[in-house]
Symmetry: C2
Subunit: 143 residues, 2 copies
DNA sequence: TAATTGTCAACTAGATTAGTAAAGTTTGCA
DNA sequence: TGCAAACTTTACTAATCTAGTTGACAATTA
């Protein structure tokens, strides 16, 4: 498995917005600077996040981006689905129909499905608030 | 996550060898025909499996490939590591040093690690024998 | 209207994927 | 010995994906 820079950058941006949550729109350039993301590239990632409804964007001076929901209500599994496509193993078989007749292929599908479920479980148990600096320093204090 | 055809083909080949286990070397062409894999492509995959020590190859007439260990002793996690590189999320960050200073990036690493552990657990609990037709039909009979 | 900010579409270099192809090596057998 | 079966190795390719960059445009506010 491999996390693309798009996934990593997108999540960092969302975490940034979670940390700024409630303070109005945050400019793309600000996020890019704080999170060390190429600004023009981040632009495109934010558009995807907006199209998926995870964030809302406002134009013009003092414009920017903000989370559509509270950080607690945005789970990582949803973010990653938007940024990298469906979570879990995806078989890229252009001859799907034919390989269904191969027994080993059917057996493998069950394994991929198990992996998918396990992965999804982890990503479904974490939300954006869990990853913010505030929340995390509270947790470490609690230890 | 995405399973490349190399991973899928390689595992199908290994399952095939598990089903033929104990009957001597199996020719690449035979595996390819049974498992619906492009023969020339499979050639390369088998070499990788041999270099990793999972199979043994013998040349000449009546030559072919066979598992180095019993199917029960070969876990999927090992096969997939050989075929697709390390299991679990891999961050492809060419600026690793810099991003370590970004708090969100550090937080994400912990999540990726959790996913890796969960994935590995599933793949470590399955071996090649579990995926053979014989074993599987026994299981379904058992229900 | 000018400045600020997001939106959209097009383009690119480089890497990866999924093969194909060709030449060479080893071995068993007649 | 010589042929054929089989694996080995290297090189090549087309198509796709990744990680951006660039530039024109739209909307908003002061």
């Amino acid at each position: 498995m491999r996390i693309s820079s798009r996934g990593e950058y997108g999540l960092r941006a969302l975490i940034d917005l979670a940390e700024q949550y409630g303070r109005g729109p945050v400019a793309c350039a600000d996020i890019a600077a704080r999170q060390q993301i190429p600004e023009n590239y981040l632009t495109q990632i934010l558009i995807a996040l907006r199209n998926a409804g995870l964030i809302q964007s406002t134009r013009g001076p003092q414009g920017g981006h903000q989370l559509s929901r509270t950080p607690q209500n945005i789970r990582l599994v949803e973010c990653l689905s938007v940024l990298e496509g469906p979570v879990g193993p995806v078989i890229t078989d252009r001859d799907d129909h034919a390989s269904m007749n191969v027994p080993s292929s059917r057996a493998l599908r069950e394994v991929w499905e198990e992996v998918r479920v396990a992965t999804e479980k982890v990503l479904d148990s974490r939300n954006l608030a869990d990853l913010t600096e505030v929340r995390r320093s509270q947790n470490s204090k609690g230890k």
